[in-house]
Amino acid sequence: MKGSLKKFRYLEHTADMGLEVAGDSLAELFIHAAAGLREMIFGEISEHAADRQEWITVEGEDVEELLVGWLNELLFLFETRGFVPLTFRMERIGIGDMSATVYGAAFDENRFPVLREVKAVTYHRLAVKKMKRGWRASLYVDL
């Protein structure tokens, strides 16, 4: 992995797409992954006028499962409640569980034109690593 990655970048895949993510802390890694997933669906969102919030808690037996669970929870909220995540506050994050407050807005096609549907975040080639400085992760989504 190159050293210059600030937040996230896309990974190429013939059938689907991936994300390579960096963060100074595990909490920041999770937030950058969420931002990457959102950009994959909506492209860049410039406005951040949140008017609602959701509370997410996820349990997992390792940090990989936690990351997949967290991102899939965001997909679930978008699909079922039309919740577009804008900013994130990590409340706690450990190896076995995490919780976060997500500030967002109601889905409106004109405000948030959708680029593509993400079906799920997968475990394929999933890696979460603690580096000398900060954390790195790579993951692939099913489109």
């Binding site: 190429e12 013939t14 699909e79 680029l115 593509r116 997968t122 475990y123 394929h124 692939y140 099913d142």
Partner: protein
């Protein structure tokens, strides 16, 4: 990883077992296709599947094989009930993603001047795109449970279609053994508003024209004639299926550890077929499969309605009837001849289609003389194919064949190539009317992003694991 692969004939390749492989790999491809495959990990995935316990026969790769999650897309593998496993990665996120073909009495000329209106009506009547929902079809929890246990039958009971439709669906539109109590609340919530929706990505509804008949006898048995108007519906179990897969990947990850199954890839996590986890996955998967059958049945009803309104013809004059409906992401109990005796096996088909031979009792009586119809969609600019199943497929691939074109270009590369092109306008010049919901969909789904499906079906035809009946050409494409 460099994998040794030996040529068997012009379209068959064998990967001899190495490392922890319990059986060989069998790949259907031309030499040119194989070269492209060696650059990605699909062959490695064929080998990974061969390491799973209780695999019977080879780990099979179809000519449209490409890198998937866990199993390759275009992969087939069968497992023994006593010591074999079931893996959600061998089915995929979109459980019972599949294809349905409708035929009608119209010839292509009868759509003259009506194509745009028909495209608009289909686009309006069938919700498509990300998070598409149907506001006029609110399911109660009880109704949803019925969908999960009875599949397309539920839709027919509600007045969406006829008993004749059900006869022409794989498994008559209902996988037995669905247990809704094993489907999570989250999956149910995702499903409730998405029944009767197309979704996005590569899912589509196409109005096609029968452009070429390759096998007159089989085409006649399937009710297909030259220049006839047909409709292809490609969609699956929507968010409900994705959630069932995600939920059970967690269960299976723990089960793999519990039962001491060594995995080369976490996405291949699985459980013994005889274990509670394995049985529960199959029962939840059946629910998602039934949701998908009901979904395609509802969409069929709205396709009929759209045609009736735009063409101002009644159902009898239009004769829009189901040719067949196939699953291409599924695990099923089937009986197959292995080593001279019949064995009950759990066959995983991920991006592969069942292709049962003439005479098989599980195919509708009307098709029994020619074999099971197999529906192979291509990209939106070129063509799709109708095939029938063969005895060779039954003997060699657990009655399976390919499922589609398979991508050759990543979405990013496709978008780059599409830049500067007015995709919809260019397709319109070729006589194809396109409506798309997603902003990136058209660019990412350009024809060049896919293998030429003619090459794919040519391989299965030449190998004998499918027989080409007809080629369809798109007239109207509705993309999610």
């Amino acid at each position: 990883m460099k994998i040794r692969i030996d040529r068997i004939d012009a379209c068959r390749w064998r990967i001899p077992p190495f490392g922890k492989m319990r059986t060989e790999g069998l790949v259907f491809a031309t030499e040119k296709m194989l070269k492209a495959l060696e650059e990605e990990q699909a062959l490695e995935q064929v080998c990974n599947v061969a390491t799973l316990p209780g695999i019977v026969g080879p780990s099979i790769g179809m000519p449209d094989i490409h890198w998937g999650y866990g199993f390759p897309i275009g992969g087939v593998a069968a497992f023994d009930p006593a010591d074999g496993v079931v893996s959600p990665g061998g089915v995929g996120y979109d459980i019972n993603c599949g294809v349905r073909l409708l035929r009608c009495k119209l010839s292509v000329d009868e759509l003259n001047g009506l194509r745009d209106r028909l495209a608009d009506a289909l686009f309006r009547n069938i919700p498509s795109g990300v998070g598409s929902q149907r506001r006029d079809l609110k399911l109660s929890r009880q109704d949803e449970n019925r969908v999960l246990t009875s599949g397309a039958r539920w839709a027919v009971n509600q007045g969406f279609g006829t008993d004749e439709d059900l006869d022409r669906i794989e498994e008559q539109g209902c996988l037995p053994g669905g247990r809704p109590e094993l489907v999570s609340d989250k999956a149910l919530e995702r499903g409730r508003s998405q029944l009767g929706t197309l979704g996005s990505g590569n899912h589509f509804i196409e109005v096609d024209q029968v452009a070429e008949i390759h096998d007159g006898e089989a085409a006649a048995a399937l009710g297909l004639f030259q220049d006839q108007v047909t409709v292809t519906i490609h969609t699956g179990s929507r968010g409900l299926g994705h959630q069932v897969c995600d939920d059970f990947l967690r269960v299976m990850h723990r089960a793999s550890q519990k039962y001491g199954i060594e995995l080369p890839d976490r996405q291949l996590c699985c459980a013994p077929l005889a274990s509670p986890e394995g049985k529960e996955y199959l029962a939840a998967m059946a629910c998602a499969a039934n949701f998908a059958f009901a979904n395609r049945q509802l969409i069929t009803a709205w396709v009929r309605e759209s045609f009736e309104r735009v063409l101002e013809k009644g159902p009898v004059d239009l004769g829009l009837s189901v040719v067949y409906d196939v699953c291409h992401n599924i695990a099923k109990w089937e009986t197959h001849p292995v080593g001279g005796r019949e064995r009950r096996l759990c066959v995983h088909r991920k991006g592969a289609t069942r292709a049962f031979p003439p005479g098989h009792p599980d195919i509708p009586a009307v098709y029994r003389s020619v074999g099971q119809p197999v529906l192979i969609p291509g990209d939106m600019g070129r063509y799709s194919y109708v095939l029938v199943g063969t005895r060779e497929a039954y003997a060699e691939t657990f009655g399976s064949t390919c499922h589609g074109a398979g991508r050759v270009m990543s979405r990013h590369a496709a978008k780059k190539q599409a830049r500067g092109h007015r995709i919809a306008a260019e397709l319109a010049e070729q006589g194809i009317v396109v409506r798309a919901a997603g902003h990136a969909t058209l660019a990412e789904e350009i024809p060049a992003a896919y293998k030429d499906v003619a090459d794919v079906v040519r391989v299965v035809h030449d190998a004998g694991i499918g027989k080409i009946v007809a080629r369809l050409r798109p007239l109207i494409v509705i993309k999610g």
